[in-house]
Symmetry: D2
Subunit: 344 residues, 4 copies
């Protein structure tokens, strides 16, 4: 971190800044320029709010953070790309991973039929919500434990590993018993206590991007998981909030190369929540893969018009089956493959 | 809710929409216009996602929600403004309530001295964080239970009721034992399970606005608390995210009259988190009161430059003492009073 | 447009609304429901602000616009996709069009060498700024008329048609004399007088999306051009403003399918201004094509580190040459081609 | 400006950066720290895009701008607050200035009656649009020259100076002949050619904030006017775009103290365009004054329900008359006055 003093800063002001830095157990390195004094702050880790704290000292013009706030998620401490293997499915490798399934688990019939259909089309992992976050207390909240049991049935039928959301620390044990990958939803992306508790369970964690999160904040959220000793984090871009009204969220497809420049963690795209309307899901799926995403998470439902949640953005079996070869073609065009079908 | 069919919609398409509505246990009312058919949906409560579900039916042009998604938070079900009394301090009444105190409880000396100073200046409630949400896992996270005990000491010394944040369901019992008002932070504003669990404890809940929440979503979050039978919710505007870089967040001062038009709940302004820099706290405090806020929540610290969190936005004792009469003057100008000092 | 009256609205209130509608020369159609009266407004075109005007009448609950605000840009009045041919280069057809060139025309050598390089790599149109909008009055503003002359030299050398920005009505004659396509920049996207004057010149117009424009507003801006009798409008997505700091703007790749659903106009993607950093330009280029864009506009410079503007986001000749076959591969994967090289 | 080199940057990389700086006629000052080399850039003015240009050099970690991009608008070059006197009305002084009038000039009767009403209530300047920017080409665009003549009639009747919008360079002569203050609308806030041409006319210019402008960009726009030798710029906050749907824009009331910290220019608040609904105009007016604004610009119409534009946000004569003493009370509470009535 670098503290740039004002042109007319007094020695007393400089000393005050240096004293503050030392108070925090950090070292200060003075550099006397022609016009200004610059104070370098050395030490690790630097308190994340140190910028703001130093900025308000008298005589300080500006404070500049040179190092990133995150460590474990960055390339410096982990120079190889992270790959995660879940029941034989590799995430973050050469092949792109397509996760598909219903928004909510509604019934055994609905979930198992969807699992079979998406597997037949080439998906290698099954999604489905048993505990659902809803913006209103009067909405369907999922089947809970019964939903988890149905997911397991679908896994037994198809061999597809399952990913499902966990919303609160009290549910971690139960969800962890069934799920192969925990999903943390966008609204919990900065629920740090949940992140830490989930991390401790020891299974991979998919971390959706928060609704108005910067990529750096997203990587800091991943850091919460990794700091607990769990390196298996998958990031998932699902759109950010903008003024655009035509889509539910605005897919920030740039976040794929941005994350890949800053971090070794795999990054996925969720075209369904970004679009909010199924008409746009194919274009966003292809864009995500073209931008370099390691995978997609797509909502599919046997009868979207009768879904209990998010039907508007779910594809039918036929639409998903039609989309998969197009995804494969774009993946091939950017030098990626799609994985071989899973055998039960 | 009103479903506007396309100009050329067929009877079969209209019937399909009607069937879908009835499937959900709601009534449909047809209205045949010159150019279009309109289907009214009657029933309560309407599923919050019903708009989206109907919008994708063939032949549907647009779906319009006429009723609000929230009920208990709105004027229809509660035509009188809510007032909440906490240890003799009335919130939402004629007088504006000034809550002040440090961002984090750091020590007994720091917290008790702050409590005394803000009380002397006219504050009637004490804030202080024992459990702190931080964007990085490497930051100071508060003193925990010891912090709560210190807050109680400060209350015993000064008579000021205390408000403190609770971050996870597991802490509710402990925090509730000490606090007079629970605070739900911006990052947990849509952590619905937390909202419901906190609600059940039965103490008043201050609900900070989420970083990119619309006012309607904010009132839906309040609805989560109220739907558990706890009517004592205080809303607190603390700025939303925009492109402006000069302030930490952008105080949406309009949310004060907007909330007051839609809801009977008291609404506060937190100028400290909105500004992020103490220089702007006085102007935002006065603007909040002028706009009609029921109170303010202001960060004050004995030595902001040495605060363990958010020092940049904390006022000194002297600055707070200087601000209070200005708040009183603006309150008087808009027909509000400031409460009489609290006696121990 | 549909006016939904409040549950308890009086006949006098309904009549007042009807009177207001008739005052504007429009017809009102009453529909008496069980719970509410609904007033349909018939007439064309409806004043764009009519919603707001009716919404404030006593007794009105909500006003819903059913028809889009734009006409000429929509499919209803033009059921075939627009294609535009510029000196033999077809835009909006089966092949995707790659426009490339420097941000600013700096010298004959710089521009002609770039034109040759991008043509050799497969670009079929040349971009270059002669008049530059800058956020500060102290920046390089382009070579003006000399810049236009240099672009013409480059066209003569390579056969590539040229597109260049016009910033003010006073420059239209001069720019129009040289350019094949006018570009309207993001900051002028709602400068309606400029749009109308440019339209009248009769050459194709590329309309960049404004920094925080909704797609509907963008199409309304296109409508300004088309309403002057000029149907040759090309839309160009160049990123919108969000909180993300890692990129200059956030490319809204969803706008490609959204525009294509609403309008018959060709839509391009400008990955350079969206990214702001050349590292991200390839991923965004591929994502744009995968999402279905009709073309790309990419900044290329012989020596980006020495560019007089936007060097950070410009590709080198080698980088552009390396990118083009990857664009071709993705285009092929989504069923598009790249055009045959241009012969001089 | 400070260039922070990476930890392992080579001397060749440092020299390359230094060479680039010198190429631009600026001086470079090296500072060798323990861990990194820092290069200071000295010279004035620094090119506004220099940060980006240096950031992409090999070996550069980060570039930090220490000085502001604007000069004339800042305190350094003008240590006293700017006051502007228009036909005897002082702007930026002790008294707050209330500008009121219709959105559009619709008729002599409408405008003159409004001028009389707002003057009687205490306004000291008249607003009214003769040339109107509209988001659709099918909307009412104002009476043009006839509108300007009507404004002059109203000025003759009441003595109120007039402010009106100019939208394009071609209209400057005509508008300048009649108006006392030019208004630049939000959509033209970065139309730099217009700003420069308006500046040259020599009359005061009110510069509305753009829809998604940062305060620094806004001050850079003011710099365009001032760099032409016209120091009489008034800034006007009118709300920025956010996700909030309850108001037309989100009034960034913090921009008042932020601008006042960065600049000596007067800053106004336009509560009408920010709110979009007249119900919220009083609260925003009072908040603006409490935050320290030098004045307000409020839309008033004899019969808002029949206004040809923006009726929804216009106050009636009675509402404005009721609001003015409340504004006076808040102004007094924050140590400002309202001016004495104007005599004809």
């Amino acid at each position: 971190m670098i503290v740039v003093m004002e042109r007319g800063a007094t020695s007393a002001q400089v000393e005050d800044v240096v004293a503050r830095i030392k108070l925090l157990g950090l070292a200060a390195h003075l550099s006397q320029g022609e016009e200004r004094t610059i104070v370098g702050v050395v030490g690790s880790p630097l308190p994340p709010t140190l910028d703001g704290e130093l900025e308000i000292h008298a005589g300080v013009e500006q404070v500049v953070r040179v190092t990133k706030k995150f460590k474990l998620a960055g390339w410096d401490f982990h120079p190889r790309k992270t790959t995660i293997t879940v029941r034989g499915v590799e995430i973050g490798g050469d092949a792109v991973t397509i996760i598909a399934g219903p928004c909510s688990v509604e019934s055994e019939e609905q979930t198992v039929s969807t699992a079979r259909a998406v597997k037949a089309a080439g998906a290698t992992m099954l999604r489905g919500g048993a505990y659902k976050p809803r913006t209103s207390p009067y909405e369907f909240r999922g089947l809970g434990r019964r939903g988890l049991e149905i997911l397991v049935l679908a896994r037994e039928e198809t061999g597809l590993p399952i990913i499902t959301e966990v919303m609160t620390p009290a549910d971690i044990e139960e969800v962890g018993e069934f799920a192969d990958v925990f999903q943390i939803g966008a609204r919990n992306a900065q629920n740090y206590l949940l992140l830490e508790e989930v991390a401790k369970f020891g299974k991979p964690v998919m971390l959706k991007r928060g609704l108005s999160m910067q990529t750096e904040e997203w990587l800091l959220a991943a850091e919460y998981v990794m700091a607990q000793g769990n390196p298996e984090v998958i990031l998932c871009e699902r759109g950010v909030r903008t003024f655009e009204a035509a889509t539910r969220n605005t897919l920030d497809v740039s976040s794929v190369p941005v994350v890949q420049k800053l971090s070794h963690l795999p990054v996925f795209v969720d075209p369904s929540h970004a679009a909010g309307k199924r008409d746009y899901v194919p274009a966003l799926s292809l864009a995500g893969i073209a931008a370099g995403a390691d995978g997609l998470m797509i909502e599919v439902h046997p009868s979207p018009d009768h879904a209990r949640s998010d039907g508007a953005q779910s594809l039918t079996f036929a639409q998903f089956a039609e989309l998969m070869p197009r995804i494969g073609a774009v993946a091939a065009a950017v030098g990626r493959s799609v994985p071989a079908p899973i055998a039960v």
